[in-house]
């Protein structure tokens, strides 16, 4: 099993969710984060004091636990739906997932994940 963490542009969220569903990956956890990447921040001005927005930009983070077979479809679905071709499109990180438990039933492993 793998634990996929993807950071994407916020306005791409709906498309990515749709794309994941299309490859039978409906289950996902979403949150808002700030990211510092290669993308430039926009300048902000407060009472005449201008400052680089620290280049911390809003991103959306997806966390998806999947069985091995679904890793590549997930990656493909995300890259295709999240890409704009501009700097700031984001990254996907894949970690090993040792165990999964469904709280409701206490099922474990591959069965619990879906």
């Amino acid at each position: 099993m793998k634990y996929i963490v993807a950071l994407i542009q916020p306005h791409k969220l709906d498309e990515v969710l749709k794309a994941l569903e299309d490859v039978q990956i409906p289950l996902v956890t979403v949150s808002t984060v700030l990211g510092r990447g290669r993308q430039k921040g926009v300048t902000e001005v407060y009472r005449g004091a201008a400052r680089e927005a620290g280049s911390l930009l809003k991103k959306v983070k997806l966390e998806i636990a999947v069985n091995e077979d679904f890793v590549e479809p997930a990656v493909r679905a995300i890259t295709q739906s999240a890409r704009t071709g501009e700097v700031g499109d984001g990254k996907i990180f894949i970690l090993d997932l040792v165990e999964t438990i469904r709280i409701r039933t206490s099922e474990r492993g591959g069965e619990a994940i879906g």
Partner: protein, 410 residues
């Protein structure tokens, strides 16, 4: 001069002020996405600054100044507030200082272009907005105000009734809003992603403040603390109550639950519809006007807009345009001389007031629509009306105002 009348119009002016900022600013601001809220607040705020100056410099004179002859526009004799002083002007308000009448009217000139903001929210360039607003107020609002309210104005001479601005304020802004949002095109991803209101409590705050300020708008238009003000006050309040409740009930019936956004929207529609009528109709008929405006505006917003597919982002046309047209017609139906001797009798009271009302409802949208179309083309060619796609994606707060509404990490 009368101190009680003066006190009432002064405080009414303050109330109408509060309709634009913070009222409308928060009503609209809560409805947009988080990344665009400051752009709305800024547009409302800067309209207050710019149009107030326009008004004292020349707008008031164009609107209410001595007619230039054809009933089309006022002269520039009162530009820079020349001759507008402490003495009352009997043509408009015999018991309060002329300056008080002038500043009361200033607040109407401010809120009218501000209402249009709802149509082009989340995608208009700030510089283009500023230029458009100044031109629109000068070339659409000022003439219309003169036609309907100015001494010698042709609609006024025709006998058209518009107590507090159904035509001048709401129809003009609502129709212009429709034209603008069609010309400007839809927001990116419109209907693909859901655009949720980012802060509905702000919208309710703004809606409540609109209601609050509208007492000044409507009852203040009596220009004195008298029976007429009392009637306008009461009709305004219950038409609004009826419209807010009706909208909530429609939603309940259609979708299984009444929303606070619906109740608030309905209330605003009620305020719009009663605006031209409040000083001419009796309280019980105000209830009918309120119930029906909720029905009409609901249809416009939930059915017609969805069908036709234009992106009137915050329903400036659906509420102000539709509501203003209905209110103006309703005045022709329900007006009674028994309520206001200076008024007329509407259709249901055996009078002929419906005709001048229909003429106004025919001409004003045409005028406002065509002028808006021209101004759009001019400003678009000159500055460009719409922000680049990338700026729209990032949000207008950062790209047009260089600031962010809320901190995220602290």
């Amino acid at each position: 001069m009368n101190t009680g009348d003066t006190a009432w119009v002064l405080i009414s002016t303050v109330l109408v002020f509060a309709m634009t900022i913070p009222g409308l600013a928060f009503f609209y601001g809560g409805l947009v996405r988080r990344k665009n809220v400051l752009s709305i607040l800024m547009q409302c705020f800067i309209v207050m600054c710019v149009i107030s100056l326009q008004w004292v410099l020349f707008g008031y004179s164009l609107s209410f100044g001595p007619d230039t002859g054809a009933g089309i526009i006022g002269g520039l004799q009162w530009a820079g507030l020349k001759s507008v002083g402490g003495q009352p002007n009997g043509d408009y308000a015999a018991t309060i200082p002329h300056m008080v009448f002038m500043i009361f009217q200033a607040m109407f000139a401010v809120i009218t272009p501000a209402l249009i903001i709802g149509a082009f929210a989340e995608r208009m360039k700030f510089s283009a907005f500023l230029v458009f607003t100044l031109l629109w107020t000068t070339l659409v609002y000022d003439p219309l105000a003169h036609w309907v309210w100015g001494t010698g104005g042709w609609m006024r001479n025709l006998g058209g009734l518009d107590f507090a601005g159904g035509i001048v304020v709401h129809v003009s802004s609502g129709v212009s809003a429709l034209v603008l949002c069609v010309l400007l095109g839809r927001r990116l991803n419109y209907r693909k992603s859901p655009f949720r209101p980012h802060n509905l409590p702000f919208t309710v705050l703004g809606g409540a403040l609109l209601w609050f300020g509208w007492f000044g708008f409507n009852a203040g238009s009596a220009l004195g603390a008298n029976e007429l003000a009392a009637n306008a006050f009461v009709t305004t309040h219950i038409a609004t109550a009826a419209a807010g409740l009706t909208w909530a009930l429609i939603e309940w019936q259609q979708h299984g639950a009444p929303t606070v956004l619906g109740a608030t929207t309905g209330a605003v529609a009620g305020l719009v519809a009663i605006t031209p009528a409040c000083g001419f109709v009796n309280p019980m008929n105000a209830i009918f006007i309120g119930i029906l405006v909720a029905v009409f505006c609901y249809l416009a917003v939930a059915v017609v807009k969805a069908k036709l597919g234009y992106d009137d982002a915050l329903d400036a046309f659906g509420v102000h345009g539709v509501g203003g047209i209905w209110g103006t017609i309703a005045t022709g139906l329900f007006a009674e001389k028994a309520v206001n001797a200076a008024g007329a009798d509407g259709l249901f009271f055996g009078g002929g007031q419906l005709w001048p009302q229909l003429i106004m409802v025919g001409v004003a949208p045409l005028f406002a629509g065509v002028m808006t179309w021209i101004l759009f083309k001019v400003v678009d060619a000159w500055i460009g009306m719409r922000v680049p796609e990338k700026d729209e994606t990032i949000g207008l707060d950062l790209t047009q105002q260089s600031e962010a509404a809320y901190t995220v990490i602290e």
